[in-house]
Assembly symmetry: C2
């Protein structure tokens, strides 16, 4: 059994039924969504920056140019909030009030640690490619040490986090069900559209299997 | 000519070419993406919460149950950072290092004002429906005063904000172009999938035109 996530008591009463502190549920959401929104304090005010992330075991990793704002403020122990949200659909009800969205989100709190080891950084960078583009890494030349050194990286332990989600169809007021209004869910799309090849690809180079597999 | 957005000098040198302070560019991104990530301080640390938003003129509006965390802390003048990100595609290069993402994001800073007027709140709630689901509002019964009163709402002036974006194909190191590796862009999907009707819809109710229009 995996350890549950910890959390402080900030859950809304209204949405309590949608909350979870199950580590496996949180990890499934983190692994499905490459985009994270990272919040931290900078210059005395909150800042939220979109970043790609990768999870390895019980840590979440963020990387970027050493010039980026979060990487610049990266002394150890910077408090951050990392939020990952999957919008699964729009929920169309019979009244405007009961319109909603289906979503799954993880909100996690932690303090950053710089990843200084070149070996660890390389492992994590390889994991990024494997998570976002499974099967691609073996098609690429290995990263050079210079490239790994040029990439700033921080990690955050996944300990204090909560999942919130909404699934299912609309829930209307009793009286509204007699209205002849179409209600239902508009699901958001998944996967990717047809790949656009780079004009500088070698002639005759076909879209490889690992890319085609990502197109729905 | 629209007034440009203001900004403090926190732009990364590396990404300067991708930045914009054009109000029209920012508004197009805000209007396309219903999901915002809202950062604020709570209990001495940063918190980032996903919320739906709507822009009206030069203000951004957020609403929710009065029980939600941000609405609870809503005395006037709470500093927030609202970030909206559209992930447009994954950029597959010939080296792991040059992999990237195409995206458009707005990062805006401001202080919250509670929207106390019931009239203003109703106007904004109608605008939410119009933005996210164009054409739907006229199909619904009007919101009751009780419903409008039960909805907490804050607004933030859109003044200090910046746009960042990346578009186009991969940019590889000169030497890597001789490698026979497929490179290109995997575009993310747009629109919605086929609507799922609520089992309690009246028999024979067809998917209305305003819903079908959102399906790609």
């Amino acid at each position: 059994m995996t350890r549950p996530l910890t959390h402080t008591d900030t859950t809304d009463v209204r949405y309590a039924a949608r909350a979870s502190y199950d580590r496996d549920v949180a990890y499934a959401i983190l692994d499905e969504a490459p985009l994270a929104h990272v919040g931290f304090e900078s210059g005395g005010r909150p800042v939220v920056i979109p970043m790609l992330h990768a999870r390895l075991d019980d840590r979440l990793y963020l990387h970027g140019s050493p010039a980026t704002r979060l990487m610049r403020t990266t002394k150890p122990g910077v408090p951050v909030c990392v939020t990952v949200t999957l919008l699964d659909g729009l929920v169309l009800a019979r009244s405007a009030m009961n319109h909603s969205a289906n979503y799954r989100s993880v909100v996690m709190f932690g303090e950053t640690s710089p990843v200084t080891s070149i070996v660890e950084r390389r492992t994590v960078l390889d994991a990024y490619t494997d998570k976002i583009l499974p099967g691609r890494r073996s098609h690429l030349r290995p990263m050079t040490d210079k490239e790994v050194r040029a990439t700033a990286m921080i990690s955050i332990p996944i300990e204090e986090a909560s999942v919130k989600m909404r699934t299912g169809g609309p829930v209307d007021d009793d009286d509204d069900y007699r209205l002849p209004i179409w209600a239902g869910v508009l699901p958001t799309p998944t996967g990717y559209r047809e790949p656009l090849p780079d004009p500088r690809n070698h002639p005759g180079l076909e879209v490889p299997e690992h890319v085609q597999a990502l197109v729905r």
